[in-house]
């Protein structure tokens, strides 16, 4: 359905869509951010991992990392304080709209390769923290390669249709009756650390099957890799428990003594190993008991 809609939009409706408003107003954010908390959240959320071209030896957060999709390669943006090619001339409200809504300062939609869907519930304080941390990044005056997808996907306005069909709210709201740790784990797993971005199957239009495919694994990740199912039942049957899972998020060591590979090696190397012990334990606690539905 999504592809059909997108194609229709591509064939005729794009001009109309350009005027179709999707942005929610962003109230002014005047809170003072905490750099340390922002860096921690940036690490947990993968901002640093995706926006640093480690492979190409690129400077931190200068973007340029390419993500293969069936429709072409999408390049991560330069997030340094450079005013020309980075986000140095942005206001915090622009940043908030990009991170929580996936929209540019001009309200043009970003491709969902950018995992903004998982950041929709970030609070104003969390946005202020991230913003403060990003202000400490040295400017890099270099553009990233231009993302050039096949038509109709080249038309970003077509993404408005995609958004209407596939932009789901993250399941981060606390569940009463569960422990603080479980709820913290839920917030991290379903939100910031975006485990479902890889571990949930996508439909033909790249939308996550949040009803039928939740954490059921994905055999066709960008670049041809596969992520196994990580529902509680699947984890139990592959020999995981809370302890081994939180240890794996710290070290990459699995219960059989193997070491994570694929995208998962990077998730640990560039993300979860920097979290606190409590946060990793919280994530494992939630993952082994995703019992609310």
């Amino acid at each position: 359905m999504g592809v059909v809609a997108l194609t229709v939009a591509g064939a005729g409706g794009i001009t109309g869509l350009r005027l179709y408003p999707v942005a929610k107003p962003v109230d002014p954010i005047t809170l003072t951010g905490n750099v340390g908390a922002g860096a921690y959240l940036a690490r947990a959320s993968g901002c640093i991992a995706c926006h640093t071209n480690v492979e190409g030896g690129g400077p931190p957060l200068a973007g340029g990392t390419g993500f293969e999709t069936p429709f072409g390669t999408v390049f991560a943006a330069n997030l340094t304080t450079d005013p020309e090619f980075g986000i140095g001339d942005w206001a915090i409200e622009d940043f908030a709209k990009a991170v929580r809504q996936g929209l540019s300062p001009e309200d043009v939609p970003y491709y969902p390769v950018f995992t903004y869907a998982f950041y929709q519930d970030f609070s104003d304080q969390q946005i202020a923290d991230l913003w403060a941390a990003f202000q400490t990044v040295a400017p890099v005056n270099e553009p990233v390669p231009v993302t050039d997808l096949a038509f109709p996907f080249s038309e970003r306005d077509g993404l408005k249709v995609w958004r209407a069909a596939f932009l789901h709210a993250p399941r981060t709201t606390p569940v009463s009756g569960q422990s603080d740790s479980w709820n913290r784990g839920r917030e991290l797993v379903e939100g910031a650390t975006h485990c479902a971005a890889c571990h949930t199957e996508r439909n033909i239009a790249g939308g996550r099957k949040v009803d039928t495919g939740r954490m059921q694994g994905n055999d066709v990740l960008p670049g041809g890799s596969k992520a196994p199912a990580i529902t509680s039942a699947a984890l139990v049957s592959s020999g995981w428990d809370v302890d081994s899972l939180s240890y794996a998020l710290e070290t990459g060591i699995t219960p059989t003594g193997d070491a994570f590979g694929g995208g998962m090696g990077e998730v640990v190397q560039m993300g979860t190993r920097f979290l606190t012990q409590e946060d990793r334990l919280a994530m494992a606690t939630y993952l082994m008991d995703q019992s609310d539905e």
């Binding site: 340390g36 400490t136 890799s225 990459g252 590979g261 694929g262 640990v268 190397q269």
Partner: protein, 191 residues
């Protein structure tokens, strides 16, 4: 104590050789897989001690280091002849198109194993996670010095054996496994 250690090593050896016909692999591929499996089994067995859940025993650390040494560096590389990745192998083609990096990781693991052996007597060290420093309270900005180190992958390339051998055993253990993971991330496909 020595007896226990020998039993440990012997168990590992048995475990490794009983993995015959693993996934239907034969010959050199089977040997390659068994080498990896031996390191996996040894890592699983030693992890509780490295986490401080079992009493520290320097001999066990040395035995573990010996197993890694046996299966890393040149011995490991010898089992990856050009293009040998037909099923059931999950080795990626990138190994041979990027042999320089692949072989550097194999050698790096050997260096870590040697350092682990040298450091065995240093003791376990602080049980806190080896990598939490970057998020320590002294971090002044997103681009703290530790972070730059992180950006260079595992950040171990330039460290000499002497520097490494001065580290605590649990730090070295975690960093060794990061080498396994870094290699699996780039050069091993999922099943």
């Amino acid at each position: 104590m020595k007896f226990k250690t020998l039993t440990f090593a012997a168990t590992i050896a048995v475990l490794a050789t009983t993995a015959v016909a693993h996934k239907g692999a034969k010959g050199m591929l089977l040997e390659r897989m068994n080498g990896m499996l031996a390191m996996g089994k040894a890592t699983k067995a030693i992890a509780p001690m490295m986490r401080g859940l079992e009493d520290y025993d320097a001999d066990r650390t040395s035995d573990y280091a010996a197993i890694l040494q046996t299966h890393s560096g040149d011995p490991m590389l010898a089992l990856f002849p050009d293009g040998m990745n037909a099923a059931p192998s999950v080795a990626k083609d990138a190994i041979w198109t990027n042999w320089k990096e692949f072989s550097a990781l194999a050698v790096q693991l050997e260096t870590y194993a040697t350092a682990l052996d040298l450091a065995a007597q240093n003791g376990l060290g602080n049980a806190a996670p080896a990598n939490s420093s970057m998020m320590g309270g002294d971090m002044t900005g997103m681009m703290g010095a530790d972070m730059i180190g992180m950006m260079g992958g595992t950040g171990v390339d330039e460290k000499t054996l002497e520097t490494l051998a001065g580290l605590s055993v649990n730090t070295l253990f975690v960093q060794s496994v990061q080498v396994c993971s870094a290699c699996h991330t780039k050069f091993r496909a999922e099943e």
